[in-house]
Structures are given as C-alpha cells and as structure tokens.
Symmetry: C2
Subunit: 328 residues, 2 copies
Amino acid sequence: MKKQINIKESPLFWPANFKNGILYVLDETLIPRKLCYIKVCSVRDAVRVIRQMKTRAFGQFLVVLNAFLLVIARDSTGSKTALLKRIKIAAAQLNSSRPTFPFAEVTSIVVGWAETAVKTGVPIKEFVTRNITGYLAGIRSRRIERIAKIADLIKDKDCILTHCNVSGELAMAAALCQQKGKDVHFFATETRPYLQGAKLTSWELRRMGAKVTLIADNAVGSVLADGLVSKVIVGSDRSCANGDFANKIGTYQIAILAKEFGVPFYVLTQPSDKIKKGEDIPIEIRDERELLTYAGKKIVAGPVKGFYPGFDVVPHRFITKAIAINAR
Amino acid sequence: MKKQINIKESPLFWPANFKNGILYVLDETLIPRKLCYIKVCSVRDAVRVIRQMKTRAFGQFLVVLNAFLLVIARDSTGSKTALLKRIKIAAAQLNSSRPTFPFAEVTSIVVGWAETAVKTGVPIKEFVTRNITGYLAGIRSRRIERIAKIADLIKDKDCILTHCNVSGELAMAAALCQQKGKDVHFFATETRPYLQGAKLTSWELRRMGAKVTLIADNAVGSVLADGLVSKVIVGSDRSCANGDFANKIGTYQIAILAKEFGVPFYVLTQPSDKIKKGEDIPIEIRDERELLTYAGKKIVAGPVKGFYPGFDVVPHRFITKAIAINAR
C-alpha cells in the first residue's frame, strides 16, 4: 500500500526541470537571497552549472539525466547513429565534470537505452525520452517514500543534527513530523566553505516551519558533549557496496564525534554502486580559492595555501542505519 | 642556564604596550589587512576592546594588567585609599568583561599589591607599577622559554595542526625550527566564526617564513585520516587543577579526532588556576549575530537562530602532554 503524503515540496527537492526544450536549474548559490533558475540549453551549459556548483548533490543527478533530453531536443540529423554518437559524446562530457559523484553510472544507463533503441529498431528519440522520464518519475516517488521513512525515524522531542544539505528530504520530513504533532528541533552546521548548511538547510527547514539553529562546524563536538543532539542525519554523495559512503567534507568527523558521544548516526544512501569500498572513491580536491576567499574577497594575506577536499569518506562501522531509496 | 633565543617577535606575541601613559592594543580584527593599534586611555576602553574581541587570548591578559597602569597614570587624588578604591572598581569592571577567561585571578593579584602598599605604607603608585612591570617581564621571558620547548617538541618533517591562534608562540617556534634546519609544515584551521586561523595564524606563520596550509574546520577529520598530520598543538584560555582546559570552540572535537587517529595532542597551558575541573568553567555564549553575519552581511535568511558557544572544554584524558609556562 502506498503511503499517502501531502506536503509542500522544497525547491531543493527537485531543483531541475525540463520544460519546452529548456532545462531550468535552481541556482543554489543565490539561496537564500533569491530563488532563481538558470536556463541550461546545452550539455556544455550543464557541465558548467555542475562544475561551478550552481547545483549539487541530487541536483547534479537531475542535470545529468535531463542533459540528454537537451541533446535529443537539439538533434536535427534524423540519423539514429548520429544521435547515438551525440549521446555518447554528451555522456563523456558529463562524466568528466566532477570526480566524486558517479556520473558514469548514470550516463551509462542512458547510453544503454540509446544503444538498445538502435539495435532493436525502435524510434530512439521517443524510447530514450520515455525511459528518462519514467526513470525520473520512479525516483521522485521513491524519494517521497523515503521522506516518510525519515519522518518515522524522527520521534517527538528529537533534536537532529545535520550537515550540508540533503536536497529537500529532511525539510519535507520535518514538515511531515509537524503534521503528526511531533516537536522536533534541528541543528544545521554551517558547512564551510560553501555554507550549504547556513544558506540552504536552515533556509529550507525554516521555510517548512521547522525549528532550526545554525552552529559553526566547530561546535559539533560541543553540542554533542552537552547532550543537545539525539540523532545525526546526513546525506551521501556516493555509496559503496560495503556500506562506506562519501559525503560533503566534515561528515566523517561528525560520524566519529557521534560515536564518541553515543548518538545514533543515520545516512540517506544512494543505491549502492559499483565501487566496493570507501578508499576506492576518488575525492575531488577543489580550487583553494573557494576556501581562501569569501564573497569575492580574500580572507588571508600573502601566499597562504589552502587545501579543500570536497568530500570525505565515512567507513560503514560508524553508521547506525542507512536509509536507502527503495529498490525499483 | 638560560637558553639563548634570537628570533623576530610576532606582533601577536605581545599585542599590547603601555607607552607614555597610553595603552596601545593591536587590533587583531584588522589583521591581515592592517597592522594597527588602538589607543586605550581608560578602563572602559579596555573593557570595550576585550568585549569586542579586538584583542583576545594573551592580548586580553595584557590589556587587563596594563589597564591598572592607566588607572595609576590617570589618578590625581594623591590619596592612597582613593587610588586603592579606583583599582578595586577597575578590577570589578575588567572581571565582568568576558566570562571564560579568569580575569578575576589576574586582577586580584593587582588589588593585593595595592592593598599591601596601603597597609605597609610604601608609595602605592610606584609599588604597584613596579610589580606589574616586573610581573609582565617575567611572563615575557617565560613565554620565550616555552617557545624553545615547543621548538624542541617539533621534529624535522613534522606536520603540525593548530586551531585558532596561540598568540605568537607557535609562529616563533616555527622560526626557531627553521634556524635549526627543521623542515616543518603547518595546517591552520579557519576557526569559524572569527576566522582566527585564517586571519591570524596563517598570517603570522607565513610572516615567520613557515609553510602553512589553511583548511576548513570541517577538514580536520579528513587530513588526520589521510595521515597528513603528525602532531596537534593548541593553546588554552583556561586551565583546571585536574588538567582539563577550555579553549576556542572546536578544540574539543579536534582532541577527540586526534585520539581516534592516534595523533599526539599537545596544549600550551596557562598556570593551572583555582578551578578544579572542566565542567566548572563558565562557557561564554556569544551573540548569534557573530555567526549569522559575515563582513556585516547576513548569511542566512529569515528568523534562523544561531548558537555560538565561544569555547569548549577538553577533558585531560585527551592530552598527550601539556606544555606549561615555567613556574616563577
């Protein structure tokens, strides 16, 4: 039996939409100041919004899938093999946009559909479009199901600490908890250097009417030590077969601290992919300027170097429970 | 035998100087943009520079002691008891400036000197001035001695992680290491929200010619997990009889992480004061605006609350070794 869920959607839950041949991507870097969508008209545009972190996490996944709809919409050759070739080129471009997220696993699915269409003689445009659309619809409903799972996990009087941003799911779970009369409080970490916690998570939790307090990434140990947190819930950017996962830099240390203070640590996992264990995940080292400047101004003087690994890997032994997306 | 040390002084090593009746206090909030001193002419001014965190850590201590020289310089009554009363009032004002630092322990020493002068009939102004000046000179030489101890602790090829700022001592130890031909690297944490690591520590380490890399407070677990750190060295704002200590928020979680990864954790301690154990240290909760704004602009939207404990307490069991100031 399907759960009946009636909650307002957070813009971060579905931050990219394909409409009339254009992909509209939520510019997450402008939140909370502006709710603004970037028009993405080509694969090159798609790679750019990913690289510049205009969109991130689930948004990247949506952009990658929808980018193929752009390729199809722009194709005027009429030749199946020419389109297949263009789809393969797009896949390669998207795969190289950022290293940590498993883009190749997503793009290979689409390339597979295109190849099937060519082999079996079905109309490639219609077949690939229908498959992408159906696939996205499936993911949407399974994410809604997971929101219900998260809301079930959260009990009355819970105080949840989260890190970075889990693309709408926690905020919508918070709304669901409120509907059920649960009194819940959230701590959002700032999540330097991009401040996703300050700019996205606290914004969307507040928008959903939840009680949220922002803390510096520094203060996690302190609030845990003071017994102010009952559960930690984070997302994951990449999951491994053995349960290890990569997520925004800082997640690993939160996991260690949660264990030190006996606080349960939950992670929303992606379908476990082809990577066996955490140490095999390539970690993106981002440009030091993203750390050394703030709002366009340098925060350091002289030739100080910065080191900004975008992600870290949490070994599975730190996970109390993984909250997976249901299998299809 | 006294160690011979010949190194350039970091401005943060002695950030307040009394000259011709005026106290010049280094404005640490303007570093690294400007090296600029605030003229402090009264106890009220002194309290203000402390509250606004224009100076911090060791600078606060210097300001508190020197503030009594201001009281003496401004006194024109000629009456011993009137001056003693003014010294006591100044002590009370200074004690109430910030809660975590043990101001009362410092001011009570000066009040004691003034009372002794009144009781024994020695000239109060000269007696208190000489005592303060002598006390400061003693501290200066013992801090120089500690810098040599820190430099001894640091070995060739060490990679030292530090947090917040230890008022010149680590930077000067780095210079000493260089003189001895040791190749040392430093990681400085940003230390949100005031960014003392980015603005002060990386600046003064670079100024001393040391190699320093800035990381987000988030990335401590990651660099430790990757084996990039051989020692952690931090300061302390307040030490307890049992070895627990309070320091800038974030120190506790670094201590836990260092232990998790088997990296030695050293702390530069103040003379152990009258507080028995860590849980007795009052923790200052600073104004949430210091967290919610950056360079005068809000980083969050709407009524998001912030929680900014200025310090946390590290239980002594996490300390590999405390590097104390030598006893007088």
